[in-house]
Subunit: 268 residues, 2 copies
Amino acid sequence: MSHRTAFFVSDGTGITAETFAKALLAQFEIEPRRVRLPFIDDPDKAHQALRQINHAAEVDGRRPLVFTTVVNPEVLQVLHGHCKGMLIDMFGTFIAPLELELGIKSNHRVGRFSDVAKSREYHDRMEAINFTLDHDDGQTDRDLAQSDVILVGVSRSGKTPTSLYLALQFGLKASNYPLIPEDFERRQLPPQLLAHKKKLFGLTIDAQRLSEIRHERRPNSRYASLENCRYEVAEAEAMMRRTGIRNLSTTSKSIEEIATLIRQELDL
Amino acid sequence: MSHRTAFFVSDGTGITAETFAKALLAQFEIEPRRVRLPFIDDPDKAHQALRQINHAAEVDGRRPLVFTTVVNPEVLQVLHGHCKGMLIDMFGTFIAPLELELGIKSNHRVGRFSDVAKSREYHDRMEAINFTLDHDDGQTDRDLAQSDVILVGVSRSGKTPTSLYLALQFGLKASNYPLIPEDFERRQLPPQLLAHKKKLFGLTIDAQRLSEIRHERRPNSRYASLENCRYEVAEAEAMMRRTGIRNLSTTSKSIEEIATLIRQELDL
């Protein structure tokens, strides 16, 4: 199989370019070599990038795919000028029609995350990360009322990665509490959670899958045994039903899907 | 100021659509109302979405901006058919030229993150999150050699959010160690780090900014005082210079920029 190279060129971090390009490339059965070229923010760097792209075109014997979110007009001009790749100008393509529709000019500002870094939104996101870390795995009940969501579920049902994703991606303060055998014996939620029932959301998981995950962490333990996983999952699900906690199964869902579904359910 | 509504329509989570649309909208001085419509994966849901969009068009008296990453042809047909919004078809626009260039048809597969969830890449990402959490703030030296990067810096220089971002976004195993007064007195890095010098990366920060951040956590403490922050930052920077640790200042950078720069420097 002959090679094809995909470049992700940006005057910022290139994270938007790469994320979007990955989603597009997932539509095709190809596995291109991937090259990230972030911070291409002046004509000199653009010429350097161009040399890399045109070199790949020669070596591969095929046009590289050049996904770009470059905003700087001078940089774009260089790229458009002598590029031996297929230029997929993800911003330019939509900026002109949007200018027409909105009746205003775009400001050609580079999507610097550093501008973002000074914004209220960014500050809140950092706060959310700190809050979420402090409130991971039921570590503290302090300020629990400030949570946007409180996840509950058995150990290794996906609470921690989901909480972190909610904080990092959406700036949501996510606490999480494990449901443990003592809760099942008492047949009651951890008491500190009862005052926050509207914010509770349950994660459940197939017992077989849970057992596999737990075996990776603690091989051949009672904790990881299928029998114990079946018991814990059944008890946790019964408790969610009794208490009326909305919940979903994480078994075949990614954290992106889980997070999106939680936001929909809780209207966050 | 009259209103404009922006819709993010996807047959998946819509996270790609929203991320990309946000970057585009940042080019304009407008603040549209934002409506997320994820999981629009059959014609019925498409008709419901359409009703919402067309209703907004009437209420606003302006065409809504409809950013879509829908892949399902039937859903797209509904949206294209009777939409009173401006349809910004982020996938469709590029799929056809890419099919031509690559000489193959796209598979029209919805970018379900749940397919992703079963992949090796996703498994590695979850592993990276667990590893990073276990190795936050110098909690353990176990398996330190498995780290892709080990961040060092004074308390609140940005190590934890950066580590988590590296893990969640890029699947990198990121450990981090605080540099503390005892290290400065000994004039030496934490000894367990010396064997991993190639993986070390330093985060530094402006003392004034550090003091502000620390005051939010522990108001009026010696820990947060400008004098102490100046001392710690100067000592940490001197140690990085002496030991030859690459480093950057996080003062006016976002975690996205910091993470991208670290990947460039360490070739990750």
